[in-house]
Each structure stands twice: as structure tokens, then as C-alpha cells.
């Protein structure tokens, strides 16, 4: 069976092809799945969220992820073997950890230091091509994980600060953690968190959202309803629901809620009964 390599970056259109070329040069049989190359530039959190969304549905394989604002600095390039059997490759900046946990947790972490598995010249600014892609190609081709470099302690890996919603009496205070291409907005937290704050959620229950003003954006208020899926509100109307991952999600039916209200990553939100 062809080995699977999945590939996610914030590189945009052209650079990923160079990396794919490097991977195919080393492992011509690889089946490369491009998860996304449109992660917002330098957004480790968006990249990590997309990996959590995608990797559990991928075949067991080698997963390369590069959102790497610290490229060429002292941040360590790492490989993580997870319980399901996959190996995740990328910078030690928190990008890989949530997905590694979604795949059963980290079994072994290693620093990527074996120069024989990298391109002959490693630049300071394009480790995707010079370091991560060739190592992924070698792993997919059957090189043992143990040869990439020494074991590093899992506890020492860089982790993103966890964003948790605050449950208060009658209000859930949370934050936008993801903006999807359809303009759907994901909030930190689950329906259970919201129920803890405002009581049982049933279809059609009115909900009031308040996005406080932040620099460059005025405060926005939105009257919406709790529903199960888009088509239960009229076209152009908004709804709050659980998305396909079980997170709180705010969307317009056949519209673009993020654009309509000027919402973006990290914007705080207060959710109350409507």
C-alpha cells in the first residue's frame, strides 16, 4: 500500500509544490494529501485547529505541518510518534500537540537533527523544503523514526495556551478560535459549557451574542437562535449550533457571518439568552 503523507502549511500557492517535489524525490510512491496551505500566515493556533479537524480522518501515516514564524531560530524541529502509529513532523511551537492528542497522545518525541535526512544545504528561512519535507519523505519510505535524532522529553515541548470559556451566571464568555471558509465562526467551548451558563438548549431558543469592541472594530450585537443545522433557519439568517466537531459554532445559512459582522480570530464574545 502507498504510504500516506499529509501536508499543511501557511505557504499559500507555490511553495508547497516545491516541498511536494522534495517528498516525491525521496519517496516516489507517497500518496500526498494536501490538508491546507491557506492557514492564515503565522497563525499557529489556526494551523493546530485545522490539524485537529483533519488528522483523525486521515489514514495512518506521516503528517507534516509547517506554520513556523520562528524558522531558523532556536525553536527545535520535532517528530512526534502518537499512539495510533502516525508520526507528526513540524516545529516545536505548539502546532502539532492538539492533533497528537487527538490521535491518542504522544508516545515518543524526537528532535530532528540527523543532517543525512535533510537536503544537503539547509537554509535559515525555508525549513519546509530543506528539513521537514525530506525527513517526511524518508519516514514514508521506511526510515525508522529512531534515526531522526535523540529523544526529547514530552513535558518539555512547547504548548499553546488553552482557551477555555468562562461559565458565569446567565452568560458564557468565550473567544473566536477558528474562522472557516464559509464564514462560519467557531467559539471555544461546547454546548455543555453553554448549557451550564444559560440552561437547556432546544431548537429555536433565542440567543443573544455580543462581540465587544476591539481595536479597529466596533462592538457588534446579534440576535440569533439555537438550531441543529443551517437549513433550519431562513437563507441569510444566522444560527448558533454545535459544529461537526462538537464545538460551538455561529453561522449564516448560505451566507458569510464573519464577513457580515467583521469577525476574526481571537475576538471575545458573550453568549446570553435572547
Amino acid at each position: 500500500m502507498r504510504p500516506v503523507i499529509t501536508f499543511l502549511t501557511d505557504f499559500g500557492p507555490a511553495a508547497p509544490a516545491v516541498c511536494r517535489g522534495v517528498m516525491f524525490g525521496i519517496c516516489p510512491d507517497a500518496n500526498i494529501i494536501d490538508v491546507s496551505h491557506q492557514v492564515p500566515r503565522y497563525s499557529i493556533r489556526e494551523g493546530a485547529g485545522t490539524l485537529v479537524f483533519a488528522l483523525p480522518h486521515m489514514p495512518v501515516g506521516t503528517h507534516v505541518a509547517v506554520v513556523d514564524p520562528g524558522v531558523g531560530t532556536e525553536r527545535l524541529p520535532v517528530g512526534l510518534r502518537v499512539a495510533r502509529g502516525d508520526v507528526l513532523i513540524g516545529p516545536d511551537n505548539g502546532l502539532l500537540i492538539p492533533a497528537a492528542e487527538a490521535l491518542g497522545g504522544i508516545v515518543e518525541a524526537r528532535g530532528l537533527v540527523n543532517r543525512d535526512l535533510m537536503l544537503p544545504v539547509v537554509t535559515s528561512t525555508f525549513h519546509g523544503r530543506d528539513l521537514f519535507a525530506p525527513i517526511a519523505g524518508h519516514l514514508a519510505a521506511g526510515v525508522p523514526f529512531g534515526s531522526v535524532g535523540p529523544v526529547v522529553p514530552v513535558a518539555g515541548l512547547v504548548r499553546l495556551p488553552e482557551i477555555r470559556p468562562a461559565v458565569r451566571d446567565g452568560v458564557l464568555e468565550t473567544t473566536i478560535v477558528h474562522v472557516l471558509i464559509f464564514g462560519n465562526v467557531t467559539f471555544a467551548g461546547t454546548p455543555a459549557d453553554l448549557e451550564a451558563a444559560i440552561g437547556p438548549l432546544s431548537p429555536g431558543r433565542p440567543i443573544h451574542l455580543e462581540f465587544p469592541g476591539v481595536d479597529g472594530h466596533d462592538a457588534v450585537e446579534e440576535r440569533t437562535v439555537w438550531e441543529r443545522t443551517f437549513g433550519q433557519v431562513p437563507v441569510g439568517s444566522s444560527l448558533l449550533m454545535a459544529d461537526s466537531e462538537g464545538h460551538l459554532s455561529f453561522a449564516d445559512n448560505q451566507g458569510d457571518a464573519a464577513q457580515r459582522l467583521g469577525l476574526s480570530l481571537d475576538r471575545p464574545v458573550r453568549i446570553r439568552p435572547g
Binding site: 494529501i33 490538508v35 496551505h37 486521515m58 471558509i181 443545522t229 437563507v235 461537526s244 466537531e245 445559512n253
Partner: protein, 271 residues
Amino acid sequence: MAGPLISFLSDFGGESAPAVCRGVLWSICPEARILDLNHNVRKYAVRDGAFLLSRAMPYLPVGVHLAVVDPGVGTRRRPVAVRAARGDLFVGPDNGLLQPAVRALGGIAEARELMERNLFLPEVSSTFHGRDVFAPVAAHLASGVPLEQVGPALDPAELVDLRFPEAIVSDGGLDTAVLYIDSFGNARLGGQPTDLEAVGGPLVEGRRYRVVIRGAAIVVPWHATFGGVPPGDPLLYEDADYGGLGLATNQASAAERFGLDLDMPVRIEPV
């Protein structure tokens, strides 16, 4: 022998959703050859998806065709699988998306509602049936699971239909309509070059026609390709991408210039 072919069209865009579905397909059917037709169908535009799918089909080998433009996801619209007369299997929502493509391959031989939960992912969300329902069923069908296992048979006449306007010859002209507008702003019109020949004689380079849009008439020449007219000028031509009559402007958007919209009537008369 090469693995089974699964073609895949959606309005999911360039983000990770198509990749997730490919992961599901390969997890179930590792030998599949996946052909991504297009994931940039205009969002929620079932008509555009239906048009693009139907135009691509004649050029594809027999296979499983997964198509998801599904604004009604999670509502009562049915998920279906359809066998076309040519032998292909289509998987997608029952909202008309699949119908023109199935017709292009000889019509419906068998239609079934997707009801067999064992062929879905273990957890089915309300908002991502591409991943949870359609992709796994498509992969199981590609792996050889018989169509009758997906769920109960449907009367083909019960499926939601979708038809494009046709070109009609009347009073010495051709009454047609805009079927699709591509990313260049070129408009694909209903009808074939032979329909235009039926009203105006042989199509020769530079021959002029009166084109009536929104009650306003313009004179447009027939040309084999865009460069036959100066930049900015309109032309009628045979669209190679989508197989039929087209109205374009050279290096500019005809849709913007003439305010074209889907289904807008267009009349073409000889000058």
C-alpha cells in the same frame, strides 16, 4: 489493474474540508484513484455544481462520483446514491445536483436512499455529511459494496430534478439563456453551434449577429477564439470547456459588461 476511480466535486473551497474527505475515502478504499473535479464551485450554488458535473462526465472513465453542494445538509433532504445507465454510481444530496450528470450518462438505472448506518462514519454530524455520510458510502461502493446495501430503492421520478433552459428556434432567431458564468466572466448559453446555424446559416469567422439582452441589442461577431476581436470587444464562440455556445469579451468579463445573470434570456438573430 488500476484502483477504482472516485471523482469528487464540492463547494468546500481550498481549505481542509476536501482533504478530510479524501482521507476518509482512502481510509476505507486505499486503492482508490481520486480525481478532484473542482472544489471551488460557487458556495451553495447547486445549479453551478450540476452544470460543471454534467459537463465533465463524458470525459471521465466509469467510476464512483461524489458530489457535495448541499445547502440543505442535516435537514430532511435525502442523501442518495444513483446508478446511471453507463454503469457509474453517483453519491450526493437529493437536491438536483446529480441529475444533469446522470442524464449525460444515459439516465437513472437505479436510485437508493442512503440509510445503512454501517456504511457511514460512526458519528454523523448535522453539518458535514460530505465527510460523515457521502465520502464513506462512495468509498464503500468503490470497494465493491453492492448498491442495494446502501438503503431502500427510490422511484427515480421522486428525486428532485434540475433542468437547464434549452435553446429554441423561433421567428428566425434563437431564444436561449445563460446557463453558467465562469471565473473569466464568460457566459455559457443554452444550445449548440448547430442551433445557431439553423437560424443563421454556416458559422463563419467574423459573421455578425444581433444579440438581445434585457431588451437591448448589440451586434456581436462569431469567432473561433477570443483573440479574433480586439481586447474588450464581445464575441460569440463555441466554448471548449463546457461544450456549447458561449458569449465572451476578449480579456474582459462579459458578465459584468452586459449585466448577465443565470437564467437570463438571450436572443440571437442574424443581422
